[in-house]
């Protein structure tokens, strides 16, 4: 096939020359350019054939999300490199990473996913960060039966057969954090502050329902949304301050995203709000985000994750050392989504070996029940709902930009992609084992609402 495609390329090159000639008349040549596109894309695919397995990496390397996503590309390259060097690849075949740049552009995510699956024919894709990028590629994965490993904590309310969610569902991050504040710190009044998009909206909705169920008055809950990249926090923080002066211990639950965090914490520090006055627990602030902030005024602020770089286990020590050596930079940090990729990648390797093939249908089936040690100790297991069982850690910011763990859930927490606290999803579960094989099974109605296996 490779041979033939090369021939096609030559043939089409002829066409390219032809185009130049009548280009002189000033022609819009949609077809010719696109045909050239085909040729170059297909030829790339043809070049890398042979006894190799391709792995797609779909993380933005430019644009607004590069801040968060680009380091994940480095982790994936390291994991693939290690697998090749130590284990000789998978099933004796070398792994070849295929890196593309979806440039923080959501339609481009779908286009690149399509290209990776149908042209590069990758065995699995590790990628996406924002919810919208995942939503954008989802139909592509379902149509072409690809496998996506999604490494970021997210809002749930989704359970696709073609996606393995290695980040936290809301009950693996938000609810334990609120429990900690409620029971250990004695918080009575809550500010739910978030960026105006679907993850904070859902998380806050779940938390609001949860808090009310725990007997918190609506007057003691303040919800605030700000746009992406918001930097002018003065009046909102003043508002939080006065909300916190009602005589009850107040905490902020922050789902503020990415860029807006640095100005938020800077303003918090400058207005003199310390963690001992009004603690802030964040779900989107990890080591990577803190690397851009002077953490001295933030000491004691909280974050909830399934992994912290500071967790002292031999596996984590090795992972951090390997990563720093791989990127040749001592200052780089590791964070939760990196661990998610570490777990997801190793699980994929095990599933491929278990299935004896990279065929997506077999690998998807083989994935369920695969377990791999977390970097923080204990085992993560892939559940039938395509989410992991994970420990939940609450950490406090230290002056050195790391977190110290102040609380850990006693056991592992199994993800609930469909939140039991929301009326529209409380009857739903996801279970991709036969006989159910359904991503949104209504346990009350006793039927699958539609996300079944494509045949």
């Amino acid at each position: 096939m490779g041979q033939k495609t090369e021939e096609a390329l030559v043939g089409l090159d002829g066409l390219k020359l032809g185009r130049r000639e009548f280009g002189g008349l000033g022609m819009g040549v949609a077809a010719a350019a696109a045909t050239l596109g085909t040729a170059s894309l297909v030829s790339r695919a043809a070049r890398a054939a042979g006894d190799k397995i391709k792995v797609g990496i779909l993380h933005s390397l430019s644009g607004t999300m590069a801040i968060s996503e680009a380091p994940l590309k480095d982790v994936m390259l390291m994991l693939i490199d290690q697998q090749n060097k130590t284990m000789g690849g998978v099933m004796g075949k070398e792994l070849v990473p295929v890196v593309v740049d979806p440039a923080s552009n959501w339609p481009l995510f779908a286009e690149k996913a399509h290209e990776l699956l149908s042209v590069e024919k990758v065995a699995a894709i590790f990628g996406c960060w924002t919810s919208v990028s995942r939503k954008s590629v989802l139909p592509v994965f379902e149509q072409l039966n690809g496998i996506l490993y999604y490494p970021v904590q997210y809002e749930g309310q989704e359970c696709s057969r073609n996606v393995f969610y290695t980040g936290a569902a809301p009950n693996q991050q938000a609810i334990p954090a609120v429990d900690y504040l409620m029971n250990q710190v004695g918080v009575k009044r809550w500010v739910l502050a978030g960026t105006d998009y679907v993850y904070p909206r859902t998380t806050n909705k779940i938390l609001e329902a949860y808090l009310k169920q725990k007997g918190v008055n609506s007057a003691d809950i303040m919800i605030n949304y700000t746009p992406f990249g918001y930097s002018n926090w003065q009046s909102i923080i003043a508002e939080i301050k006065s909300f916190g002066s009602a005589g009850k211990k107040t905490a902020v639950v922050s789902t503020i995203n990415g860029d807006a965090n640095v100005p938020f914490y800077k303003e918090l520090g400058n207005q003199g709000i310390k963690a001992t006055d009004i603690p802030v627990v964040a779900f989107s602030v990890g080591e990577q985000e803190l690397a851009g902030i002077d953490t001295a005024p933030l000491v004691g602020q909280l974050a909830a994750w399934n992994y912290f770089e500071s967790v002292d286990t031999p596996a984590n020590k090795k992972f951090i050392a390997d990563f720093k050596a791989f990127v040749k930079n001592d200052k780089r940090v590791t964070n939760d989504p990196m661990e998610a990729h570490y777990i997801g990648f190793n699980m994929w390797v095990k599933a491929v070996e278990k299935a004896g093939t990279t065929d997506p249908t077999s690998v998807i089936d083989a994935m369920i029940g695969v377990a791999h040690p977390n970097l923080t100790g204990d085992f993560a297991t892939m559940m039938p709902n395509h989410h992991l069982s994970k420990p939940v850690l609450i950490g406090e910011v230290q002056a050195n930009g790391q977190f110290s763990v102040v609380y850990q859930t006693p056991g592992l927490v199994v993800a609930q992609p469909w939140s039991p606290y929301l009326p529209e999803s409380k009857n739903l579960i996801g279970d991709w084992l036969p006989p159910m094989s359904c991503g949104n099974y209504d346990v009350v109605a006793g039927r699958c609402l539609g996300r079944t296996q494509k045949s």
Binding site: A33, T35, G37, L41, V100, D101, T130, K135, P139, E158
Partner: protein, 382 residues
């Protein structure tokens, strides 16, 4: 005579190329050397939609001198109108299996459809919205702006503010358009599954046909008497006014027409890329559309199409071929074109050709005329 050939060749290439792609996709076996993968078909479809946006920008910028930095807003509005219809087509196949409400509305706890979603389950109604919404917005904005003679860079920045405001508005979940996630996971269009091969090919062919039609319409328009007045407005607005024309009416008409063209492009774009979200309103997108036109050749309709296809193809290709460096290539391309091909690709080639043969009377060459600096001498305040 020569210019008729120009139109025929453009249309022929668009339609012929699209047909060829369709045949190579559907008519050949997947293992054949000539086979075009489905992925490329939807990619080409996407480029053709961008070409409609570029054509629309060229019509107002190249021929009426209105530098719009917000045209992607009309494109996105058309896309949203189509997206609403596609969302309703999902019906009870959403994750919550709600037969009346799209998933994102179930999710934000709405019990019934807001009034502005009324009728969106009918295809014909959605098509009316595709034309009406961008057209109406362009009419209101243009009416106010051209009547008060907002021109030059003031107008450009206002169009930018317009698309920026729309982006922020559509980001809001409470708007009822899906917030940041927008609309996605479409199933059917007019009963055909959107992700089926034949549907993709059909949509691509339709895009090609509509692009060709838009091109012919624009071409006819700019070569008509109307178009000549338009060029006169572009080159000397006051002088045209003193001659008894009403430049604002000409500009308003072409602005609205161009918004509708962009809206149709957006409507075709959405089923082919499978998602519409507020980032389509991002000011950068509109600026990019202007750049496609500048690269292809401002004031040459076929140049706009060529620019859109070339830049987007370069982007598709380079983000895979050299993911870490493609911004250098793209940025460098823009700089190089400005410095070395000031009239764009088609404009420069046309100028070169006419120098070789005989001087052409075509009102194409825009870059040739130095534009007045925007600060130089403003007119007195009204």
């Amino acid at each position: 005579m020569q210019r008729d050939a120009h139109s025929a060749l453009t249309v022929g290439l668009i339609l012929g190329g699209a047909l060829l792609m369709a045949v190579l996709d559907l008519g050949t076996a997947a293992t054949s050397a000539l086979h075009v993968p489905d992925f490329v078909v939807s990619l080409v479809g996407k480029y053709l939609c961008y070409a409609m946006l570029a054509l629309a920008v060229d019509l107002v910028w190249g021929f009426a001198g209105i530098l719009t930095l917000g045209h992607a807003a009309f494109f996105a509005l058309g896309g949203y109108a189509m997206g609403m219809y596609l969302m309703r087509e999902i019906g009870a196949r959403g994750v919550y299996a709600n037969p009346h409400l799209p998933d994102f509305m179930v999710f934000i706890g709405w019990k019934e459809l807001p009034w502005y979603w009324f009728g969106s389950n009918h295809f014909w109604f959605a098509m009316i919205l595709v034309v009406l919404v961008p057209g109406l917005l362009a009419f209101v904005f243009g009416f106010l702006a051209f009547r008060s003679r907002v021109t030059g860079v003031y107008l450009s920045i206002m169009t930018q503010a317009l698309t920026y405001a729309l982006m922020l508005a559509f980001f809001r979940n409470d708007m009822g358009f899906g917030g940041n996630n927008g609309m996605t996971d479409f199933k059917d269009i007019l009963g055909f599954p959107v992700s089926a091969r034949t549907t993709e090919v059909g949509l691509m062919l339709l895009s090609a046909a509509i692009l060709a039609a838009q091109f012919l319409l624009a071409r006819w328009l700019v070569r008509s008497r109307f178009g000549q007045v338009l060029v006169a407005v572009r080159d000397a607005e006051s002088r045209t006014r003193f001659l008894g024309y009403r430049p604002e009416s000409y500009k308003l008409f072409v602005f609205v027409l161009s918004a509708v063209m962009a809206g149709i492009g957006g409507a075709l774009y959405v089923p082919q890329v499978g998602i519409i979200n507020p980032s389509e309103f991002a000011p950068g997108n509109s600026i990019e559309a202007v750049i496609w036109v500048a690269l292809g050749g401002r004031g040459t309709l076929s140049g706009a199409i060529l620019g859109a296809v070339l830049v987007n193809f370069a982007k598709s290709w380079s983000t895979t071929a050299f993911p870490g460096l493609w911004l250098y290539a793209l940025g460098g391309l823009f700089i190089a074109v400005t410095l070395f091909l000031p009239r764009g690709i088609v404009g420069s080639l046309a100028a070169g050709l006419s120098r070789l043969s005989q001087p052409s009377a075509a009102p194409l060459a825009v870059g040739a005329r130095p534009e007045p600096a925007c600060h130089a001498a403003p007119e007195p305040a009204p």
